[in-house]
Subunit: 126 residues, 2 copies
Amino acid sequence: MTPAPDISESEWTVMEALWDASPQTASELTKLLRPTTKWAENTVRTLLTRLVEKGALKTAENSSGTRTYLPAVKREACVRAEGESFMQRVFGGAAKPLLVHFAQNSKLTAEEVRELKKILDQSLKS
Amino acid sequence: MTPAPDISESEWTVMEALWDASPQTASELTKLLRPTTKWAENTVRTLLTRLVEKGALKTAENSSGTRTYLPAVKREACVRAEGESFMQRVFGGAAKPLLVHFAQNSKLTAEEVRELKKILDQSLKS
DNA sequence: CATCTCCCACTACATTTGTAGTTGCCACAT
DNA sequence: ATGTGGCAACTACAAATGTAGTGGGAGATG
């Protein structure tokens, strides 16, 4: 596995779009992201280039010869890495305080609480 | 309330030390952090200065006239802000997927699971 | 053929972050 | 008075990040 590259905030936005739907060309992505980000196309291109350098994206040519981008790393792997680093930085690496924090600071529906409890049960299963 | 300044990773290390025990002088902090960080005193001083600029720390003179540093923002507030931003970036702002993720990726003791369930129950007590 | 368009490769430039080094000032021991 | 040891202010400088601009080649168009 690629060791889950470091993905900055803006880059993360691009990655999400591609995890959601890929491959896409730079201009497709630009249009897709424009409403939320207001980024110029060159900005998106720069981010794409950097992500390719980092090994987070791969490229391929589409039928019409233009380049398309697609993830080279799984979202889940990046989420795990980011989560790990966050947990380390803010909670000294301990999962429980983190879970406590988010459990306390979120308003959850009864349904969600039920689900989470089930997952907690499983999590200690193995 | 101060709107919870943006605290970088290295800065966070310093903040933790001061949330843990304050006020402290630059050299005290340097000694305290040396084992873990290997930072030169000037490095610590730079971080302290930046944190003061950001409004995360305040200073005061101690009896012997040298400067001491102490938090100007509560840890809990910073944790909340960081957590919020992390949740936004990585989980699109949704608490449940975040909780699911960490619940699944952590090995918890039966005791911890019990505790967490209790907190979940309270969290929906609206 | 002369252009107009797209797309891509380069270049740009301010900020933030990590990690110090250099200088100046002041109280205290000679 | 003078050197010395701290402490504080200012300066340094490279990498990463956010956010573009510019120039050049390959097709589409008039």
